[in-house]
């Protein structure tokens, strides 16, 4: 599903990612952990095509990202807690426009099902984006990200501003989505969350993968930061 070979990225002479190679199979939920500035978000942005690496090869769903971005994008989605959708439009209006962008004809049942599972009130639908709390905003971004039932789902600190209960429900939805055809990559500073949700953990440190394997405990993670 995801194949990265020798990805390098620098900004202003500072190396952010250094020879990152990675292979992710269908059905995996991969948690990427690491200290601030380790290159986690940069890696995710490269996977989404928002950022181009200085060198290296990216293959998603068996296609090269560089030349097949639009085809891959139909099967992919991304959400970040720091993102805000169209501020003066309502949640429903924003989701409708994104349904158009992804060509999803009947998106209402998807949303209804998700919102029921996460116990989110319907009244949120008519709320304007700029009036949402940080947690609600993150949840709306998550809703947008699963609108097209993507085979590749990339989430950047999506539960960062959510309350523990909502965060738990969202992670349960992610786990339930986990099928052989779906792959999820989650960036999170909350290593406990990664440990509970993900089937695989990657630790990035100074732009390099220093651990790739089963999710491990917090005290063990710290040994990789040295």
């Amino acid at each position: 599903m995801i194949e990265l070979i020798n990805i390098n990225k620098s900004f202003g002479g500072k190396r952010i990612l250094s020879n990152v190679s990675l292979s992710v199979r269908g059905g995996e939920i991969v948690g990427i952990a690491g200290p601030v500035g380790a290159g986690k978000s940069t890696l995710l942005h490269i996977l989404t095509g928002l950022l181009e690496p200085d060198s290296g090869t990216i293959t998603l769903l068996g296609l090269p990202l560089q030349s097949s971005r639009q085809i891959i994008a139909k099967e992919m989605n991304y959400a970040s807690s720091s993102q805000r959708l169209g501020g003066y439009a309502s949640v429903a209006e924003n989701l409708t426009t994104y349904a158009d962008l992804y060509g999803v004809p009947h998106f209402r049942p998807i949303i209804t099902n998700l919102w029921k599972l996460c116990k989110m009130p319907d009244v949120l639908m008519s709320k304007k984006i700029y009036k949402l709390s940080s947690g609600e905003n993150s949840f709306v971004n998550f809703t947008k990200a699963i609108l097209n039932n993507p085979r590749l789902l990339f989430l950047d600190e999506i539960t960062a501003h959510m309350d523990p209960l909502l965060s738990q429900r969202v992670l349960t939805v992610i786990k339930k989505r986990n099928r052989k055809t779906n792959t999820t990559i989650i960036i999170s500073q909350n290593t406990e969350e990664v440990r509970r949700t993900c089937t695989r953990m990657i630790i990035l440190y100074h732009g390099k993968i220093v651990y790739d394997g089963k999710p491990i405990q917090n005290n063990k993670i710290n040994t990789y930061y040295a």
Binding site: A73, Y78, T96
Partner: protein
């Protein structure tokens, strides 16, 4: 055009239309300030009958220039304003991760800008009819041709402005104002081409709106419509549109290298 492409354009169109909905700052920018401007110079032109002939002509020239320049400048400024909003909110990341092409993005932005400008011009036209009723009757049906052509110029140069936003992000939210102001100098909105000295005079020949404003003034002063000027303006506008599209594509690819989209 493929159905799914039309749907993506509709999504972008709606997204950019919603950007002004319930947004008081943008409503003021789009409707209230231009309306005050039209009122001010509309009253000046209406009082022209009490002025010496030359002063009356100047006041009508200023009003005509302001009304028609709105068609170009507002398209550029609106396109940049709505696009910059997406950089500020980081919604641009969500949009560019979606399966859209640069062509679809530009069509969506353009369609939304033109819709908003059409509403804005209708409001301004209404204000003008109340203040200076003979304004439109003196121009006749040609007014629509000029509006269309000037909007086309606005679309072409809005692409140039959008390419700047792609490169520098929200920091250059003023690029729409700068490009439209510089363009105005060469567009001969209020003066004849001969008023521009040396190099500025030469450059003005490459600006499509200069031909349109010359044509408007000539028609106002009793000359027949110069179709040749409009053909040149149309050809130049399409050329700039192609150049603008190329610039947006280049700057988008460059932005993906330098990280403007993710750093916004």
């Amino acid at each position: 055009m493929h159905n799914s492409s039309i749907r993506r354009i509709r999504g972008l169109y709606l997204h950019y239309l919603y950007s002004i909905k319930r947004n008081p700052a943008r409503v003021i920018e789009m409707f209230v300030w231009p309306a005050f401007e039209i009122m001010l110079f509309g009253f000046l032109a209406a009082s022209g009958k009490n002025m010496p002939t030359e002063a009356a002509v100047i006041s009508v020239t200023i009003l005509t220039g302001i009304v028609y320049w709105n068609c170009t400048a507002r398209v550029i400024q609106e396109a940049v304003a709505q696009f910059t909003d997406d950089f500020v909110s980081k919604n641009i990341q969500g949009i560019l991760v979606a399966p859209i092409s640069i062509g679809e993005l530009l069509i969506g932005i353009t369609a939304a800008s033109l819709t908003k400008i059409a509403i804005s011009l209708t409001v301004l036209g209404g204000v003008l009819v109340l203040i200076y009723p003979s304004f439109f009757s003196s121009l006749g049906a040609h007014a629509l041709l000029w509006v269309f052509q000037l909007e086309l110029v606005g679309v072409a140069f809005s692409y140039v402005a959008l390419s700047v936003v792609f490169l520098f992000g929200e920091r250059v939210s003023f690029s729409g104002w700068i490009i439209s102001t510089v363009l105005q100098i060469f567009s001969l909105v209020f003066y004849e081409r001969s008023a521009l000295p040396g190099l500025l005079h030469t450059v003005s020949y490459a600006v499509p709106s200069s031909y349109i404003f010359e044509s408007i003034r000539a028609y106002q002063y009793g000359s027949p419509l110069v179709t040749n000027s409009h053909t040149i303006a149309l050809a130049l506008s399409f050329a700039y549109m192609m150049i603008g599209f190329g610039l947006v594509t280049i700057s988008y690819n460059w932005a993906r290298k330098i990280g403007t989209i993710i750093k916004s």
